[in-house]
């Protein structure tokens, strides 16, 4: 039986095969160079380097959605703001959306540059306890396009994970583009030994979005990425003038809550559509500071509390399991 590494693509010929590294299925596989060379040396050494680098990061959360435009970056930024409200905690945001990096704008960091030191790349700070890394900081302007094929994107993601000097941080929140491609495969592979807490899946209520998010759930299961839960964004809109509630994206098939139940994963909550959220993102402002009391603020904070609870319980469980192993 051919030896197929865990991170190999479908139809991998096997590392012992004569066509290892040379078959069409090998294109883009992180082990391709190793397989096609005369003496195979094992999995990508970067995985171990990344494990060491991120040993100082207590909790890692990946924000995913099969669907574009559901609010992943908005959610990532405000999850980070919410976690950073506790000034005793250090928070990091990593934006691996290489083609459409929205995080710098949303966190008010447009035009900032990244600096390199002997300990690696220094992230850019929003506040004393909130640091950010994005390809957006490496571009000469916000309209500078990154027109890269997969392998080059993978290289960037590897550098981000291996070379950014986060220091000791409590939470690293990772924003991703939509889909299940290079960025997602690489991120989960490179983080495979770092004990990622889990993924938060964003959706909007309509079936067209749910269809794509269900694929993302399957992806998480295939790569053994735990799922913290589903958040339904843009759930209803209240007219600021007459307070009538309208449904902009109708949940004709039950919305995110039903999808979560059908897939046996927790439903973390619904976030209503508030035009002020989009405005804050455009202006790089913290919605929680601009709008202190609103249905959206309350809903957001409840979801953030659930995520914190999950992370703490998971850490306790790991410590208990490790303690039992050491007895």
């Amino acid at each position: 039986m051919a030896d197929i590494p865990k991170d190999a693509p479908e139809h991998c010929p096997g590392t012992d095969s004569g066509s290892a590294g040379k078959a069409s299925a090998c294109q883009g596989c992180p082990n391709q160079t190793i397989c096609s060379s005369a003496k195979p040396q094992g999995p990508d050494p970067a995985i171990g380097e990344i494990k060491n680098r991120l040993a100082s990061v207590k909790h890692k959360i990946i924000v995913l959605s099969g669907k574009g435009g559901v609010g992943k970056s908005t959610f990532t930024a405000h999850l980070a703001h919410g976690l950073a409200a506790d000034e005793s905690k250090q928070i990091g945001v990593l934006d691996v959306d290489i083609c459409g990096p929205s995080i710098p704008r949303i966190l008010g960091l447009e035009g900032e540059q990244v600096h390199q030191s002997s300990s690696g790349w220094s992230p850019v700070y929003v506040t004393d306890n909130l640091a950010v890394m994005s390809v957006g900081f490496l571009l000469s302007g916000p309209d500078d396009a990154v027109i890269w094929r997969g392998p080059k994107k993978n290289g960037m993601i590897k550098q981000f994970l291996r070379d950014v000097d986060w220091g000791e941080i409590d939470y690293l929140v990772i924003d991703t583009p939509p889909g299940t491609s290079d960025e997602h495969i690489s991120t989960t592979q490179y983080l495979s030994q770092t004990n990622v807490d889990g993924a938060v899946l964003l959706t909007t209520p309509q079936e067209v979005a749910l269809q794509d998010v269900r694929k993302e759930i399957t992806f998480c299961r295939k790569v053994n990425l735990p799922i913290i839960g589903v958040v339904e964004n843009m759930s209803g809109f209240v007219c600021p003038k007459c307070t009538t509630e309208s449904v902009i994206f109708p949940p004709t098939t039950g919305g995110g809550e039903k999808m979560a139940a059908d897939s046996n994963i927790p439903f973390l909550g619904k976030l209503p559509l508030d035009p002020r959220i989009g405005k804050c993102c455009d202006e790089g402002k913290n919605y929680f500071e601009e709008v202190q009391e609103s249905p959206a603020t309350l809903a957001f904070k409840s979801i953030i509390d659930k995520i914190k609870d999950y992370c703490m319980k998971r850490r306790e469980q790991i410590e208990t399991d490790t303690g039992e192993e050491n007895r």
């Binding site: 574009g68 309209d143 396009a145 094929r149 809109f237």
Partner: protein, 260 residues
Amino acid sequence: MEIVKRMSKIKHKIAVMSGKGGVGKSTIAVNLAVALSKKGYRTGILDIDIHGPNVPRMLKIGKKDLIISAEGIVPVKVGNLKVISVQLLLPEENSPIIWRGPRKTAAIRQFLVDVSWGDLDILVIDCPPGTGDEHLTILQSIPFFDGIIMVTTPHEVSLDDVEKSINMAKHLKIKVLGIVENMSGFVCPECKTEIPIFGSGGGNKIASKTNIPLLGNVPIDIASKELEDVLLIENGESETSKRLLKIVNKIENIVLKREE
């Protein structure tokens, strides 16, 4: 060569793109394709959003086995509109396609070689968000591309990504035919106040900055959505439908009616 042969039977090819996700590319592409086919043009729609192929659901195409004839893969027909999407090849609706770039490139090229569109007046290509493998493959493989329709919402966050897409098109020397601003405001069904839920002015801003015509603004229409119908163009009474039809007419003039 194979791709050139297939594409030579298709008079016009346009792509619907946006650097940004969730702005309504598929909705606009589907409505455009349906409208053109109802005007009598021999129309096809190719959905190359490999990870999030929404076109079949929008056209209410359920599980269907694709037929392979001597000419190649036969597109599914919805009325007179010919449709191909990777969704139609999936064994199960929820199967994700977890492919890296090179495999996606190979798959798209395979679609371009193997699908037997026959003679078409226009092929509308629905693209995923971003500026990556899928876009490069389509724009570099198809000869004599008429151009790109860029979709945005009014938000600045959307404009950033759309501008990247426009710069990609410039880099590849492909014309951007026009910009469509989608989700342009929402009219409260109760008090009729127009609310800029997703901001305002973005379409105009990017059109003037890049010197590309703004083809129109499409407001949110919840009446059609309550009927689970993304074919906004068919609800002739709504403002959304009227504005969409104006946009379709403009695209028809730019692409189909111009002198060869």
